[in-house]
Symmetry: C2
Subunit: 211 residues, 2 copies
DNA sequence: CGGTGGATTGAGCTCAATCAAGCAGCGTGG
DNA sequence: CCACGCTGCTTGATTGAGCTCAATCCACCG
């Protein structure tokens, strides 16, 4: 199976694929970072997912044979293993559990998206940002002496596009949290210092009470 | 296959299943109407989908064998065909295309949800309500002399829960549209009179220009 | 050292939530 | 058949969260 893969290399700002293109290839990221975004006609884009090394992307579309629903843009220089359609079908035939797996993954993503939908519809910007940080920490957190560093290139506007807010709102809220010692900000970096307090914020409708 | 189904009957306000329960049964609605909602801890609920007769629900969960992600509540008195786990597995083994079908359906729903997520994150309340009405018209529209009637029990607060707004906002916007002849409102009813204008509203960021 | 792109912060404004009242259609029971 | 009550709908007034614009600031890189 590995023999049938080839290596895809993509420069920052370039794309693995665009939304609505036929889903012909599935990837596993080896190195770099990818943003998976959704563009609306006219509308601002939305950031659905950040892909870190060792994660797959484009897999569900390629296996099911539907167009890619999202655009995959390289944030940094990227290397990824790529399997094309024939390799996929033969692999899936050889190992039916692969399809089963893809299904499980798809279902999990679906539920996550529903959860985010609910958050967006019912919760405050503060809560959504907190939740997003926690999710990212879970995905790409790296503990060190200072706390839990989110090991991604993560700008304020990335966070804005993930939470359905503006870059300014994100900045304000992060600064406020830094002042209260919940975390430490850097250029395209966030270091969480008090995970439990952040969790509380994520669940608390009224923010002002716990300052 | 039909032999292995049984009939499920549910009274208004009662439930077919609750979210997070194991997905043991799949249904096809014969008569009535169902709301599929997502409840957050603490948060207000969100209406993800309305099920009309002849549509399936709970199918993906039951086939894949994961917990239901949503709660299915009967709006009116409902009758549905129900298949339990053993019947499903044997049917799927006999007709593998069934699984294929379920997958296609799931993928389509996934894309729809992503689209709605983007709308919620980037568009105005007005646009979202317009889009939702169009989607519902597509799902359950019935043309008559007056226009296109959405053939569902559809309260203002249902629309609010679908669009991530408040019942008041929905009421105001629908009234405004009625004043301009786009549609006609009724108690838990909406009749669309000018589909093309509504489509324009759905796509137009600045509403005021086309009054 | 200047330039470039990200981040911060203030001021003003707007959209939509909330609160509060009252209205209207519909079903029920006297 | 009417009165009542229930539930859904409307509408006004007010408020506030978060958007937008604009002006810096800061870190990193050539």
């Amino acid at each position: 199976m590995y023999a049938s893969a080839h290596l895809a290399q993509v420069e920052p700002g370039q794309f693995f694929f665009h939304q609505d293109e036929p889903g012909e290839t599935m990837y596993v990221l080896i190195e770099g970072q990818i943003k998976m975004t959704l563009l609306g006609p006219e509308g601002r884009q939305v950031l659905i997912r950040i892909v870190a090394p060792c994660e797959d992307f484009g897999a569900v579309s390629a296996i099911v044979g539907t167009p890619y629903p999202l655009t995959a843009e390289a944030v940094t220089r990227c290397q990824a293993l790529a399997w094309d359609q024939p390799a996929i079908t033969s692999s899936v035939e050889a190992y039916p559990t692969l399809r089963e797996n893809a299904l499980q993954v798809a279902v999990r993503r679906f539920h996550q998206l529903q959860a985010r939908f609910r958050e967006l519809a019912t919760e405050s910007a503060e809560q959504r940002i907190a939740r997003t940080l926690l999710r990212l920490a879970d995905q790409a957190g790296r503990s060190n002496g200072e706390g839990m560093l989110i090991d991604l290139t993560l700008s304020r506007s990335d966070l804005a596009e993930m939470t359905g807010t503006s870059l300014y709102t994100v900045s304000r809220i992060l600064s406020q949290w830094e002042r209260h010692g919940l975390l430490k900000n850097g250029r395209e970096k966030v270091l969480i210092r008090d995970l439990s307090k952040l969790t509380t914020v994520a669940k608390t409708p009224d923010t002002s009470s716990l300052i």
